[in-house]
């Protein structure tokens, strides 16, 4: 057994040391902007403009808390963040944020009850996943799909170890429904990429997208992507755009009539 040193101070020296100590890890080629530690988490908590949350939370560049690394890794306790939120002026933003904390608890309760069964379909999926591939294509793993929006999300995730939740949903949907890769394969990959990787939130959310832990598969289209992510994305080419259809057309293409979206689906709210 080997003991690691604890006297390193600069983030660069820590990165170099960890590369040497854990040579099998992929070198991400730079530092994540998300700095570990409870004190950083407390600063981020105090800086979170919670009253903007309701309006901005769906937007890729919106003012979300980015507390998930500190919550997943336990630097901050869920309960103390909830108490902090409830000290702010009560608003729909505060309630929405506390509901998101409750989602985290909900996922944990399901995982606590099901154990490693969350690694298989918890429910019969609403669309067929039987022939989905079990290996992740190289172009997805390296963020070179040729679709700039998807590549932007993948690159961001690889470079920082973090991604806005809505971007995670877009990626999970693209990988599962558009590329027909099995959700388990995508979930396992994403779990390893994330600083806040949490089996409960991650794998159950992928199942939610796939429709084995929800009433319908999650899909998105060009209009939705532009509305919520347009501000941060390079333009996708207009020709051969796999997303440039209505929900009804996409459902037909992707699921061949197995599933028909209700009109309310067009709202684009992902949760």
């Amino acid at each position: 057994m080997q003991q690691l040193r604890t006297d390193l101070e600069s983030r660069e020296s820590i990165a170099a040391y960890l590369q040497a100590e854990f040579p099998s890890l992929e070198n991400p080629g730079g530092l994540s902007p998300h700095v570990g530690g409870r004190s950083e988490g407390l600063v981020r908590l105090q800086q979170f403009p919670i009253q903007k949350y309701a309006k901005q939370r769906n937007f890729i560049d919106g003012a979300v808390s980015q507390l998930s690394p500190y919550l997943s890794r336990g630097c901050l306790e869920l309960e103390e963040v909830r108490q902090w939120a409830l000290q702010q002026s009560r608003s729909s933003s505060v309630e929405k944020f506390v509901a998101e904390l409750a989602w985290r608890a909900f996922f944990h309760l399901v995982y606590e009850e099901e154990g490693d069964r969350i690694f298989q379909e918890l429910e019969k999926p609403r669309v067929s996943l039987r022939n989905h591939a079990r290996t992740l294509p190289d172009d997805i793993a390296s963020g070179e799909t040729g679709i700039p929006s998807m590549d932007t999300f993948i690159q961001r995730m690889k470079q920082t170890g973090y991604l806005h939740n809505h971007a995670r949903m877009y990626l999970a949907s693209y990988i599962t429904h558009f590329r027909r890769i099995h959700w388990r394969t995508g979930a396992d990959w994403m779990y390893g990429q994330l600083i806040d990787g949490d089996f409960a939130s991650n794998h159950l959310s992928w199942q939610w997208v796939a429709s084995s832990f929800s009433n319908k598969p999650y899909i998105f289209n060009r209009e939705n992507l532009e509305r919520y992510a347009g501000a941060v994305l390079p333009g996708d080419p207009r020709r051969n755009d796999p997303f440039n259809y209505s929900y009804e057309e996409l459902a037909e293409q992707l699921f061949g009539g197995e599933y028909t979206p209700e009109p309310s689906r067009v709202s684009g709210n992902y949760r």
Partner: protein, 137 residues
Amino acid sequence: MPVLLWFNEDGLNPDHQIVQDYPDAPRVYVFDVPYLQQWQITQHRVQFIYESLLEIPDIQIYKGETVPILRQLVEQWQVQEVVTTATPNHLIKSWQQALQRFTKLTAYPEVYPVADTTSPRRFSRYWNKHDRVWLKP
């Protein structure tokens, strides 16, 4: 020595109740190399965990296989009880269970505002049942 504090990757709080309850106990973290390799954990997470550990005074950080390392420390230091934090992570739980063959282990549970830990299959049902408690300080 009576107690050893064992931190896992889901409980890296230097102010956690386990530290407050056992302020003089040695503090240990193990980077489990097979786990990091099997799940291809990004170096970003390893660095985040490492930076978080540096905020725990007198932390001892090991790398290797979790259960053999902890077992060795338990024997070396004649530890009577390992105190740690609970997590639903089934891999960490299996290490906790394995350790219980060699020593007493206490895992402080996750704290939620709602005592009911049953999990309905839809968040909407959970929220409909418990929203008032969640929204009460």
